[in-house]
């Protein structure tokens, strides 16, 4: 089996594409590990005589002269913002490599990523923190890339500051992630409120964020409230805001770090996430 046999321009029946570059001797070079992986899998399937046509890979062959930058641009558009997105850790690793190792300017990077500036910086910072603080505390082979989202949450304003203010550090944060004290990972968002509350902190350090959150929640949520669906709760919240007396609204605005304001911001963040998911879907 040679490389050439695997290339069949324009064939799209399998619905895949690979980036290849034709070299001066008319063979096709596979420039990156990702493409080589696909080739390896096809060869394995062919050798194992698996059902299906594994003798060709649909490919778009670029004639020579394609720069690394052009290849990176295509890869970013396909795997970072395209329909075949990589997992978040892989995306972050690639963004980090492009910006730090290859020194791709931030403006170019964000342009290739469809203008998602906040996401790009969050991912690079999260990757940096995960490598710096989480990797050293996990045994070899136990580095769990699915914990990456916790480090993305860590980048939200107020989280790191709350950790440091409460005399903890990012190594401890990584330990909490590793020991699943911050599970599900979106409980990282609750850390500022937990760490400002002595009782909640104590419970959190023993049993994790989910248990600690119970202390933060207001007591006496009625049965009707807990059974209401999201539409009913949304309508009720809107109505409560419209009916809010002026002096109470003023009190909330005056204390943006207060319990009520923080709870409202959490709702706002959750709503923004939910509505973005709606758009993407």
């Amino acid at each position: 089996m040679t490389w050439d046999l695997l290339i069949d321009c324009g064939k799209t029946t399998i619905g895949m594409s690979v980036i290849t570059e034709r070299t001066h001797n008319a063979s096709t070079s596979w420039r990156r590990d990702w493409e080589a992986t696909r080739l390896f899998l096809y060869k394995t399937f062919l050798d194992e005589k698996r059902a299906g046509n594994w003798s060709t890979i649909p490919a778009l062959v670029y004639e020579h002269g394609m720069s690394d930058l052009q290849m990176d641009a295509i890869r970013l558009q396909v795997h970072l913002v395209g329909t075949r997105a990589w997992d978040p850790y892989s995306k972050a690793k690639y963004l980090h490599s492009l910006h730090i190792e290859k020194q791709m300017p931030m403006s170019t990077l964000t342009e290739y990523c469809g203008g998602r500036q906040k996401e790009v910086t969050e991912f690079i910072n999260a990757f940096t923190d995960m490598e710096k603080y989480y990797r050293p505390i996990v045994p070899e082979g136990a580095f769990d890339t699915s914990r990456f989202s916790g480090f993305v949450e860590l980048q939200k304003p107020g989280v790191k500051e709350a950790i440091l203010e409460s005399k903890h550090d990012l190594t401890e944060f990584s330990t909490w992630i590793h020991e699943q004290k911050l599970f599900p990972l979106n409980t990282v968002r609750l850390l500022p409120r937990i760490l400002r509350n002595a009782k909640a902190t104590e419970i959190f350090l023993k049993h994790g964020a989910r248990k600690a959150a119970e202390v933060l929640e207001r007591p006496g949520v009625s049965k009707a409230l807990s059974e209401a669906n999201i539409g009913q709760l949304a309508a009720a919240l809107s109505q409560a805001i419209y009916d809010l007396p002026w002096h109470e609204a003023r009190k909330i605005k005056k204390d943006p770090g207060g319990e009520v304001a923080q709870s409202l911001h959490e709702v706002l963040d959750a709503l923004e996430d939910l509505l973005q998911i709606g758009e993407a879907g």
């Binding site: 300017p105 203008g115 690079i124 304003p157 790191k160 770090g257």
Partner: protein, 141 residues
């Protein structure tokens, strides 16, 4: 000039200042201007007009524009305090406050009062009237 037009001009002046000292090759600069795709994050309950950071993070810039009428409201005081508190926790924070020139002295007093409460170690403050070319301090090497 109306208040909103003046505010817009001040925000644009912050953007120009920030982009000059914190190049887009390294920094992401977000603004709360109408039509902005990526808005600045909410910080201690308030969304600033401009937010810039690099990755991995070596510096954070928060820019806020205030008209004369806005500057002395309680809301503005709380907002400025919230931003300075956030920046004080950073390794290298820069706060750019843009106000019309008659309000520069007032702005300076407000910022000084808040800084005194915080005793921040790493915050640099730039108060601009929108025309001044004084540069914000860049990230320390």
């Amino acid at each position: 000039m109306s208040d909103s037009a003046q505010h817009l001009a001040l925000v644009n002046s912050i953007l120009a200042l920030v982009k000059k000292d914190f190049p887009l090759t390294k920094f992401v600069v977000l603004s709360d201007l109408p039509g902005s795709f990526d808005k600045p994050p909410r910080i201690n309950g308030f969304v600033p007009d401009v937010f810039a950071e690099d990755a991995p993070r070596t510096a954070v810039v928060i820019g806020e524009a205030k008209t004369v009428q806005d500057l002395q409201t309680n809301h503005s005081r709380l907002q400025i305090a919230a931003f300075l508190r956030f920046l004080a926790a950073q390794q290298n924070g820069v706060f750019v406050l843009a106000v019309p020139w008659p309000a520069i002295a007032t702005a300076q007093v407000i910022v000084d009062l808040e800084l005194r409460e915080l005793e921040p170690q790493h915050v640099k403050v730039v108060i601009s009237d929108g025309y001044e070319t004084r540069a914000a301090a860049g990230p320390s090497e």
